[in-house]
Assembly symmetry: C2
């Protein structure tokens, strides 16, 4: 048949991939255990028979796995469900006190340290505001904060802490002037490896992730995630950022910046091309207030401290909504997200107004051929970043990313 050869010889560049490894029994068991835990978390409470049906595993296998998880204290049994023919089923649920985790949200205006339990509830928290962050102060806040919170736990509880997850912005030194930091004051951050510095002072495993990505992760697990297999997420903080969920898993991309979204080009009020973050960020509102002689301090202290600032705030919401609507159309043209989720470091009533305005603005755009996502409010709220941070240690150890058996290799490894 070689005489029939058509146009051939497609050049194949040298492979750079390091595909995931092979499968074996040990990994299969680890995977199935995580799967079971994740299913229980997703549905709140499931019997062994339920898990067997939903996982496709045999009843016996599920029985064995769940007995182990119960023995380890990760699962606990609920009240038997009667009323149906047959032996009553025993719903198993996640034991909220099985695992605790610290989450640190470090921002341009404030830091939060939270202790989260195994079902995503904040059990304790500390808060600090500042004009701009400095490494030493952050380090002191974390180390003393962890000590303080741990003091309130007993020995047994302390032993169940899975680790500390940090949610922090990328490249803090950028855009420093926009938020009023003295020129050069943020340059110290260029040489700081916060994760390493904290790890050296804390006796727990330390994880770190972009703050908006973390918030997105919190939304995935504890918010609207279970209802939408993929969504684009916007978190409006001092600077707007975002994240991407695909196949019910965070997609953080090659450089970890997927879903950063801030630099997305949009058309500004006067038709000029601007970056999304120059419009839909809280620092913009802050500057608008300052220009009008209004004290913006209430913006930082706590999301609940916001008041209705009137006209400048309405203008900011309108501008932001216009920009967000464009960003959503652009995102939808690239991936057919089922939802666009908007949340931020502000009270719920502000979020509602932003989302409604964005829905209105989106309707005015040219949507031919675009599969538009549902535009909805985030369900987690202002603390999403800290919660997302705190989830990192828990997910690394106990839960599965949808259907990926073996985690992607580290970025460093794939050179």
């Amino acid at each position: 048949m070689s005489s029939l050869d058509g146009p051939a010889n497609i050049p194949v560049p040298p492979p750079i991939l390091n595909p995931a490894g092979g499968a074996n029994q040990v990994r299969v068991r680890a995977y199935n255990e995580r799967l079971v835990l994740s299913l229980v978390r997703l549905y709140g409470a499931l019997s062994k028979a339920d898990i067997a049906r939903r996982s496709g595993l045999s009843a016996q296998t599920v029985s064995v796995i769940m007995r182990v998880l119960e023995k380890e204290g990760l699962l606990s049994r609920g009240e038997p469900v009667r009323g149906r023919v047959g032996q009553p089923s025993i719903p198993m649920h996640i034991n909220p006190d099985a695992v605790y985790s610290f989450g640190l949200k470090m921002g341009r205006r404030s830091a939060d340290l939270v202790l989260m339990d195994f079902v995503g509830r904040i059990r304790m928290q500390l808060h600090r505001t500042y004009a701009y962050p400095l490494p030493d102060e952050i380090l002191a806040f974390v180390t003393s904060g962890i000590r303080e919170l741990e003091d309130r736990l007993d020995d047994k509880q302390r032993g169940r802490i899975a680790g500390l997850g940090i949610a922090a912005p990328f490249e803090l030194w950028n855009w420093a002037e926009e938020v009023g930091a003295p020129p050069g004051a943020m340059d110290v951050w260029r040489d700081v490896d916060l994760q390493a510095d904290i790890a050296a002072r804390v006796s727990h495993p330390v994880f770190m992730q972009n703050d908006a990505t973390s918030a997105c992760g919190a939304e995935l697990v504890f918010g609207v995630g279970p209802s939408y297999p993929d969504f684009v997420y916007f978190f409006i903080g001092s600077f707007i950022g975002g994240g991407i969920v695909l196949n019910s898993a965070i997609f953080s991309g090659r450089t970890g910046t997927a879903g950063a979204i801030g630099p997305l080009p949009v058309r500004g009020k006067n038709g000029e091309t601007m970056q999304l973050l120059e419009i839909a960020s809280i620092f913009v509102l802050e500057n608008m207030l300052r220009e009008r002689g209004i004290d913006p301090e209430p913006l930082w202290y706590s999301a609940d401290g916001w008041v209705d600032f009137g006209e400048p705030m309405e203008a900011w919401i309108q501008d932001s909504a216009k920009a967000l609507a464009q960003a959503i159309v652009a995102a939808a043209s690239i991936v057919d997200f089922s939802a666009a989720v908007i949340d931020g470091g502000f009270p719920d009533w502000v979020r509602s107004r932003v989302v409604q305005a964005t829905i209105d603005e989106a309707a005015k755009l040219d949507l031919q051929g675009v599969v538009m996502p549902e535009i909805i409010e985030g369900a987690v709220g202002a603390q999403a970043r800290a919660i997302g941070g705190a989830s990192l240690p828990i997910f690394a150890r106990y839960l599965t990313d949808q259907n990926v058996l073996f985690k992607e290799v580290d970025h460093a490894e794939r050179t």
Copy 2:
């Protein structure tokens, strides 16, 4: 500790997910077999020991698996490699004649039917052009074409045909006037299920996928894919379309339209907002030529039939490059792709000019904060859609999507 409860009760919507099932040994073997095949394909030729190292599987396991694959004729052994200490290693490579597959590319101007071998080479092909496609003619072309090509094979070869993969545009009836079809002529396509109709007339399994996504798949496997773990792909046909590769796997999204890219809003020549497909599509060039009294027929017959059309073509390339550059920035703001790959149904020299122009235009945009992908030419070329189509049956049966053990459930199942 419950007295310390912080802000809690995050509402959890009803789960809609049907996460992937559990793992077991049978699936593990199937997965490992595909992994081995994929590794051999990726690297061209690897010894059993190499595979063991790269997969993390034990030498014995790999030995067993590869002997089976060799016995099945999928792998064949190369010349022993001497010159190093120890027993010489025997590189195993994919047997190109182990599996054949048909690929049908159906477009607005022409259709191609190809027979592809197991390493992605086109062995035979048929081509047909038309003013616009009609279901009956396409059906006749495929059925008679397959018969004709199969006649040139012997019985043994015929038995190795894995199936037929169709690459066709979404919603053919849209934009019909733009390409000069009589009003309403394309409406017949609304009620046609091409995949089912062809499957009823052909004795092979039939697969179908969007044409641009198919081209993207061909690029992933046979083109630049091995060098870039994620990229956004543009295929410039009668209409521009595209695809997305994440973690070395096609991402086709919830509705199968991820990476459609056509409706992406960009700024046109006069500052007005337009959709990418209204600028960077071959039908636009076609119309430009017609306006100037130039016969556009050479555009359709074959990519090699193109001639340099001079000024109108240069203008089209410039306009397209401006639009593509904006699309790439938008895509990069959402996902940090390592590359943006541009290919199309045109000769290589046109592709080179488009890519160079796009690189130049991208440099003029505001890139602060954007992780820009490398803008590169596709390595597969004008036949990418047909090759991608032909890969569908092969991939469904023999190769793995990176590290996903169990394929995502069908979209229909996840309601």
